[in-house]
């Protein structure tokens, strides 16, 4: 997509709408993870509306770009984007986390647009490597995107996958790190420091792109840059604000995994109006 001012403004509006849906879903469900859903909302909205090659009418189209949400607890964001881009009716969003719903508490294949379940952290980058290798075997040109949380990179499996992606020269693979600086138990730097982040990924053979994860033109540029990198995987290290867009949730750790109450939902929706 050409990054005209109109397009940028359009994407901003879409991201704001996605944030509203996230709050509505979580408010209705009374449980779930707002903080990380809001922090990665701009990254994933831009991905689905302006970057990804996909066809919501054919969720299993073989040539589609793949997206895998390794930080599965942020699925309210994914569900909102999938509904808004036409994978399933928007009314379904309010069934999140209910018995029998196609929208499980963590991603599941019963949701149109979800290729692989996630939720147990640390496994998703390996899944994305598998998708990337499958593209090579089938001589297809689709790209693979994988959203990870910062706390999630404390898992050893992530680094096994990082090593493999570089070894196999998976240049069709683009990691997205939602670096909001928080995990359930506190700040990542206090719980288990993950710094130096960029140096680690570079040492594992990745091309790193460091951006402000709420700067939409910069997000678009980052996806475009990743596409040009050959012979190695890329990762967009996106500095974000946990709970972004709702003043009383921003950088408040307790909103990692606690849904807003009814008054909080109302207040948040007013802010996002």
């Amino acid at each position: 997509m050409v990054a005209t001012d109109k397009n940028i403004e359009d994407l901003r509006g879409k991201a704001r709408n996605i944030r509203k849906l996230i709050i509505q879903m979580l408010g209705k469900a009374c449980s779930g993870h707002p903080g990380g859903s809001l922090s990665s909302a701009d990254l994933i909205t831009v991905l689905y509306y302006a970057v990804l090659r996909h066809n919501p009418a054919q969720p299993r189209w073989p040539d589609r770009d793949r997206f895998h949400m390794s930080k599965g607890h942020c699925c309210p964001l994914w569900y909102a984007v999938l509904a808004e881009t036409g994978y399933f009716p928007k009314e379904k969003l309010l069934t999140l986390r209910q018995l029998g719903s196609m929208l499980q508490g963590h991603p599941d294949r019963r949701t149109p647009g979800v290729d692989v379940a996630s939720g147990s952290l640390g496994q998703g980058l390996s899944v994305a490597v598998g998708m990337s290798l499958a593209a090579r075997l089938d001589t297809k040109d689709y790209r693979v995107y994988c959203l990870m949380g910062d706390g999630e990179t404390q898992e050893g499996n992530i680094w096994e996958a990082a090593m493999a992606a570089s070894h196999y020269k998976c240049d069709n693979l683009c990691g997205i790190l939602d670096y909001n600086g928080f995990q359930i138990d506190g700040k990542t730097c206090d719980v288990m420091n993950i710094e130096p982040v960029a140096a680690k990924w570079q040492a594992f053979g990745w091309h790193t792109i460091e951006i402000d994860g709420h700067d939409i033109p910069r997000i678009l540029q980052a996806y475009a840059e990743a596409r040009t990198v050959k012979g190695k995987p890329s990762i967009i290290i996106a500095r974000t604000t946990k709970g972004k867009g709702v003043s009383f949730m921003e950088n408040v750790c307790s909103f990692h995994g606690v849904a807003p109450t009814a008054p909080e939902t109302e207040k948040a929706l007013k802010e996002l109006a």
């Binding site: 496994q123 390996s126 598998g130 998708m131 290798l133 499958a134 493999a164």
Partner: protein, 311 residues
């Protein structure tokens, strides 16, 4: 004398066969391709073989990504690491998604021998059996390994196939492998002996010994642990005085537990277990270890006699 074969040799050769038939067959290993014999496939189809190094969790989760794109992925390492180290990836990745990932694990049981306890998986069937969607096959010899692997390739969904390290004699008297159907190797109504894998040959020797003592034992080769042939188990429970279950596995959670679950619900009877009784393995030669852990035909005979004597 029956032919002696390494199950893993047969596995490697069967993979090559499959590779020629189906270009969507992909094979993975975690630095044990010479031991598991996936190296045979690697030589023929280097493009479709991925050795991820010493990283079993990564291997299992990569297989999930490959399978999501339509590949039938054979994943191999030792049973200990396939089911222990990578359990979460198997449960949440392979099985929950119900993908075509076929875990073929070698070096199960104490017959691993000198490598000792850390490499002797005695809990792997238990670990796989609790996971929904998982089909579990324990072939008893070389030819049955080939049948099981071919069956896994043409059957949708996750498989766990358990192989040993040592050479095993080919069991002559069995019929064609049918998934989920126990094989009656000997007919008899005094006592039933239910076995799988490497223990089938011990069980056959036990049946011969019991026959000398005038006891007719029915011998079942339950190669498919899931889905279990519950009808064959119920029949054995009904028509005999009790069941001896033999397996080269912990007596907790494996074949014996599977049998218990069936008979306790439908036809309660005595079930005695010949297996490893909540102990770790240790170094030694396989024959020595079979004696040490009471896995020999003599142990099976003893259990069978106890059942006959009590009834």
């Amino acid at each position: 004398m029956a032919e002696l074969l390494y199950q893993r040799d047969v596995y490697g050769k069967t993979l090559v066969e499959l590779g020629k038939l189906n270009c969507d067959v992909v094979v993975m290993d975690a630095d044990l391709s010479s031991s598991t014999r996936t190296g045979l496939f690697a030589k023929e189809f280097p493009q479709r073989f991925f050795n991820v190094g010493v990283a079993e969790q990564n291997m299992m989760a990569i297989s999930v990504g490959l399978a999501s794109c339509g590949k039938t992925v054979f994943v191999s390492t030792f049973a200990m690491f396939a089911t222990g180290r990578a359990w979460d990836q198997v449960r949440n990745g392979v099985a929950y998604n119900n993908f075509d990932v076929k875990i073929v694990a070698t070096h199960a049981g104490v017959s691993v021998g000198p490598d000792g306890a850390s490499h002797q998986a005695l809990e792997d069937i238990a670990l796989m059996r609790v996971i929904p969607n998982m089909t579990i096959v324990v072939p008893c010899d070389g030819p049955q390994t080939r049948e099981a692997v071919l069956c896994a390739a043409r059957t949708k969904g996750p498989f766990y196939i358990r192989l040993g390290r040592a050479k095993v004699p080919t069991i002559e008297q069995k019929k064609e492998f049918v998934l989920g159907e126990a094989q009656v190797l000997c007919e008899g109504n005094d006592v039933a002996i239910v076995s799988c894998g490497t223990m089938v040959v011990e069980a056959l020797a036990a049946v011969a010994e019991l026959a000398k003592q005038g006891i007719n034992a029915r011998l079942l080769n339950v190669h498919t642990i899931r889905p279990l042939d519950t009808q064959a188990i119920r029949d054995a429970a009904k028509s005999t005085k009790g069941i001896v279950v033999c397996e080269e596995h912990s007596t907790i959670g494996g074949l014996a537990s599977s049998i218990d679950e069936v008979v306790s619900e439908s036809h309660p009877t005595t079930v005695l277990r010949v297996g490893i009784k909540s102990r770790f393995g240790q170094s030694g030669e396989p024959e020595q270890l079979f004696k040490e852990y009471h896995l020999t035909s003599a142990d099976i005979v003893k259990a069978a006699l106890a059942i006959v004597a009590h009834t």
